[in-house]
Symmetry: C2
Subunit: 119 residues, 2 copies
Amino acid sequence: MDRTEVDRCDCNVIHKDIVDAVKGKMPSEENLYDLAELFKVFGDSTRIKILWALAESEMCVCDIAALLNMTQSAISHQLRVLKQARLVKNRKEGKVVYYSLDDDHVKQIFSQGLSHISE
Amino acid sequence: MDRTEVDRCDCNVIHKDIVDAVKGKMPSEENLYDLAELFKVFGDSTRIKILWALAESEMCVCDIAALLNMTQSAISHQLRVLKQARLVKNRKEGKVVYYSLDDDHVKQIFSQGLSHISE
DNA sequence: TGAATAATTGAACAATTGTTCATATATTCA
DNA sequence: TGAATATATGAACAATTGTTCAATTATTCA
């Protein structure tokens, strides 16, 4: 590891080569941060439900609100988060805004997650 | 949708069949909650870094701390979270506790996440 | 135009989270 | 045994988060 950092225990000396090798293989700080930000979006059951619903069918805001038995406002706030993460897209038809999935990976990420849970 | 719930806009009437169909296909409330809890664990860059490091090599607590330039305590707290989520396991060798990945899906979930980010 | 509808937005609030600090536990070895 | 080391833990703190409420915007249609 960098000589600018303090060795905090003997392991750091003994395992120096292993730690150095791992450090060399780690993705960039930025990529790891973005990855965490993405999973943070999946880490809320309201958003998970919205994504799951949209995986079945395009829906408007008030339909999602009715489906999840929550307020339109709460759903709208969460749809904003999902859109910023480029996980959903929308189209406007008169007063009504229809949302749908904007990513092929969502279903696959869900599938891996479910596999882990049901182990 | 349930007649016990209030229709909050005309869409709920117009789209009734679609919403009903989606409702019928949704996984259980419990599964969706567990899925969100799992992704919540992935939704922190410290934990992402730890998982990524362990995907390369088994490591002890103080090595991870040195690698990420964080305190031993902070790492230990996060390893606890990861262990509760059954994402890492550990073995003790004297004073030293070695942690490693405990799940085959981690790398695949990462891979899907990265695909989305680099779109 | 003006009332009604669908959606968005911003502020506020409680609840949750990640780190730090101090302390406790477990193990080695002189 | 007692000092040193590696890890774990609990309390406390600031920071972040999700929902609610009230108000605003955009659109339809009578």
